[in-house]
């Protein structure tokens, strides 16, 4: 694995977007998540929303890319997040992560990362953590 991997180190950031209606239509099809509030503006407005908004899982997918671009897919042991705010049309999702702990788990040396996503106005939209396995010598 490539550095950084010490507690306090930040991993390379990642951004995705801006989110368009096409992005959401494609993600609904690709993910199988057909919840209408993300793809049907008439439905969203009738439900009291200004418009459709992005699937939280689309941003979580970016957290997955953030971590696996750095660590490799085969190293990922867990990925978790809380959805704190919605992501609107036109937003760009910016993801960042920091190593917060090195520990042993199931016979492996692992790193815990604090990960988060935010949108253009600075609102944090996702907050979570990832655990990746590393070589003990790293």
């Amino acid at each position: 694995m490539t550095v950084p991997n010490n507690v306090g180190d930040a991993i390379p950031e990642l951004s995705f977007g801006p989110i368009t209606r096409s992005t959401l239509a494609l993600y609904a099809g690709a993910s199988g998540d057909h919840v209408k509030i993300h793809i049907d503006s008439d439905f969203a407005k009738a439900a009291g929303r200004a418009d459709v908004f992005a699937h939280g899982m689309l941003s979580m997918a970016q957290l997955g890319r953030l971590v696996t671009n750095w660590a490799g897919i085969d190293r990922l042991r867990s990925l978790q997040c809380r959805f704190e705010a919605i992501t609107n049309l036109g937003d760009t999702v910016r993801c960042s992560g920091t190593v917060v702990e090195r520990f042993q788990q199931n016979g492996e040396t692992c790193l815990r990362l604090a990960v988060s996503a935010q949108v253009d106005n600075g609102t944090r939209t996702l907050l979570g953590e990832a655990v990746v396995a590393v070589d003990p010598a790293d």
């Binding site: 993910s31 509030i37 699937h55 997918a61 970016q62 997955g64 971590v67 897919i73 990922l76 997040c81």
Partner: protein
């Protein structure tokens, strides 16, 4: 948990929507074949650039049997247990627990990975309604659903834990 018999329990401020009688319900396992084209479509849509998720030659060169599902591809398999039963004339999970799409928010998602998912894998998927909870004086109601994705030879590959929220206020 203990509850004093003398403490009056305040009625919820808002009518609840989730079907609470489903607590502990486990869905019948659904068999599912992971398709290469579906993984690639998902990978392209989320902006994945790792060639092992897009190109079977790159995946094989890296020592994998076929292209590798990105970490959150588990959502695709998870959603299957939410939708697939309708094709068999049964109620899908989202309907069983009575989700109201106008009020539904996704609260949390967690994936624990024990193995990679490859194109061509035959997996078995099952969901458990683990808990219901009320927050903010009943203005929010939460449902927790856990889904396991298992392979006959390689065992459980991914456990997904999801928290769904109804905004009742």
């Amino acid at each position: 948990m203990t509850q004093s018999s003398s403490a009056p329990v305040a009625p919820p401020s808002y009518p609840r929507i989730f079907e609470r009688s489903l607590l502990g319900h486990r869905s019948d396992p659904i068999g599912f074949t992971v398709e290469r084209g579906a993984i690639r479509f998902f990978a392209e849509t989320i902006g994945e650039t790792n060639p092992i998720c897009l190109d079977e030659r790159a995946a094989r060169a890296a020592g994998y049997p076929d292209i590798v599902a990105p970490p959150t591809y588990a959502i695709v398999i998870e959603m299957l247990t939410y939708r697939q039963p309708s094709m068999d004339g049964r109620k899908p999970m989202l309907d069983l627990i009575n989700c109201d799409q106008r009020r539904l928010l996704h609260g949390e998602e967690r994936y624990d990975y024990a193995g990679l998912i490859f194109a061509g894998d035959q997996v078995e998927v099952s969901s458990l309604v683990r808990a219901f909870e009320d927050k903010k004086g009943g203005a929010l109601e939460l449902a927790y659903v856990d889904t396991t994705i298992a392979h006959a030879a390689r065992g459980i590959l991914v456990t997904a834990s999801r928290c769904l929220i109804h905004q009742l206020s």
